[in-house]
Every structure is written in structure tokens, then in C-alpha cells.
């Protein structure tokens, strides 16, 4: 499980939070393919109103605070990995996300291009420029996927 091992270098001070973080990677995140899928999964663990993270399994094993810290660290980590990805890598991530979603690719692309739900998948209080970079690349990536499905007519 190379990703979880590598992530262990993100040393949380709190012992329980560190254990919760390792558990999160071992049981959940390592089984999710693609960082964009992981980002959306982790964002879904966050309460829209309070911004706090909740995960019933982690909370019962490690407590609310430790589970929240572990989820937040993992969320940030995945965000930074995606922010540093090239546009080509991000398009591959988007393709993987579309494939794994189980939804119709046409519908999913239309929804993501229109509503831009990925905007709320970012962690709180991150560097605005890094957020801008990732959002811009996601927007471009979606347009790439759209244009591959609907190629523009050649110039006369």
C-alpha cells in the first residue's frame, strides 16, 4: 500500500489522529481509484454548514477530533497532489471519475460543466492561487473531454 505508507510521513501530532489517518488510507482511500475520486469522497465527508468532517467509522474508533483531523489532512494532501498535476494527468483523472461514477458520461459532463460542483470539493482555507490553478485546470479538462465527444468542425 505505497500511498498510505508514503502519507504516513504527514505526521500528525495527535497519536489518535495519526492512527485515524492511517486507517482512513488503509480502509478507504487506497481502495478508491484516482485522486479526483478521493477528493470528492473526502469533500463529501465535510458538513456543508459547519465545515467539520464526519466519518462514523473513524469517529467510533478514534473519536471526533482525531477523525476530523485525519480527514482534513487527507483532504488537503489529495488537493495538493491534484493541484500539482499536469493538465493531461487531470484529464485522465476526470476520465477515471466519469467511468467510476456509474452515471451517463454525457449527463455528468453537462452537470459538471454547468454547475461546477467541483468548486465545493476543495478544502477550506487553502492558498487561493493553488485553488484557482486547480479549478482552472478542471474547467479546461472538462472542456477537453467535451470537445473529444463533440469535435468542432474543421475550418473551411
Amino acid at each position: 500500500m505505497p500511498e498510505a505508507q508514503a502519507t504516513a510521513t504527514a505526521v500528525l501530532v495527535d497519536y489518535d489522529a495519526r492512527k485515524a489517518y492511517d486507517d482512513l488510507w488503509r480502509r478507504s482511500l487506497s481502495k478508491i481509484s484516482g485522486d479526483l475520486n478521493r477528493l470528492v469522497y473526502l469533500a463529501a465527508m465535510r458538513d456543508y454548514n459547519s465545515g467539520r468532517y464526519h466519518h462514523a467509522g473513524l469517529e467510533s474508533s478514534f473519536g471526533f477530533a482525531a477523525a476530523g483531523q485525519a480527514l482534513e489532512v487527507a483532504h488537503r494532501e489529495v488537493f495538493w497532489k491534484l493541484a500539482q498535476a499536469s493538465l493531461e494527468q487531470l484529464v485522465n483523472e476526470l476520465e477515471l471519475y466519469v467511468r467510476n461514477s456509474g452515471e451517463s458520461p454525457e449527463e455528468l459532463l453537462a452537470t459538471w460543466r454547468g454547475l461546477q460542483p467541483y468548486r465545493i470539493a476543495l478544502p477550506l482555507s487553502i492558498d487561493p492561487l493553488a485553488a484557482h490553478l486547480l479549478l482552472s485546470n478542471l474547467k479546461l479538462g472538462l472542456e477537453v473531454l467535451h470537445s473529444r465527444r463533440h469535435p468542432s468542425p474543421p475550418h473551411p
Partner: protein
Amino acid sequence: MTLLLLAILVALLLGFALLRVLRADAWSPDSPASPFVDAHPKFIAEAVFSSRDWTFIQQELSPPLNSLFLLERRALAVHWLRDCLAGIRAVRANHLRQSRHSRDLSVLAEAKLLLLFSYLSALCRCLLFTVQFVHPAAPRAVALYVQNLAANILPPTQSPMVFSRVPVTEVSRERL
């Protein structure tokens, strides 16, 4: 356009000369954490001004995609440069504030610093103007030069993974 490039070249040469003089003094700022550095992990400038993504977009053979890419990258470049300017202003203001309480000020060192801050700001403004008219990847070398120059005079940054709400002692960027 040629004149603009010449102006940038002259500014760069002046900058190198200035840097050689300034390095002799090895100034370290008093500010413990600069907003400039925090706001600029190195990969961002590399990504914004890189031609790697542009090459990828061109392979898609879609003119609307090309236009959208240039629009997005210009907006990012402007964001990066405005943040640079704000950061330089903040560090300069902080230094001035600290200097007021200092009793062993060197006029020469202060003049050199003023020149350096002005030089960095001028470069950023020049780039802000340039990216409106040329391809965002064109001024890449100058943008990275600005970033390196700023890194020389500002304190070392903390990892962008480190944040206040969760106590983290160390975060490796190896897997990122």
C-alpha cells in the same frame, strides 16, 4: 514587441548586477512569515507559465480549447503577479516598520533594499503588461527569475500542507 523584449533583457541584466551586490550583505528580513512566500508554492509559477499544458491542449486540435486555455492561463498569471506585488509591498512595509525601531541602520543597505524592492515590483508590473499581449508561456524565464529572486530575500516558506487548524509537525512532499 522587440522594444519590450529589449527592455526586459536590460532589466534582467540590471537585476543580476544588483543581486551580486546585495548578496554580499546577506540581508535577512525580520518578518517571520511572508504572505508572498505562503501564497507561492514554487510549482504554481512553473505550472502557470509552463508550455507543457499548452502542448497538450494543441494536440486536441480545437481552436475554442486553445482560446479558453489562453484566457485561463492569462487570468492565472495576472493572479500570480498581483499576489507577488502584494507580497513585496507587505514585506517592504514590514521592513520599514521594523526599521523605525532600529538604531544601527546602514544607509547603503537600506538604499540597496529599496532598489531591490523597486526592481522586483517593476519586473512584476512589466510582466503584468506583457502577459496581456503575448502567450502566457513566453515570459516563463522572467517569471521564474522573479520567483527565485524573491526566494533569495524572503524567509524560507513552510510547506503548503501545514495549516493552522490541525497540529502537524512535518509533512513530506515526496508523494505529492
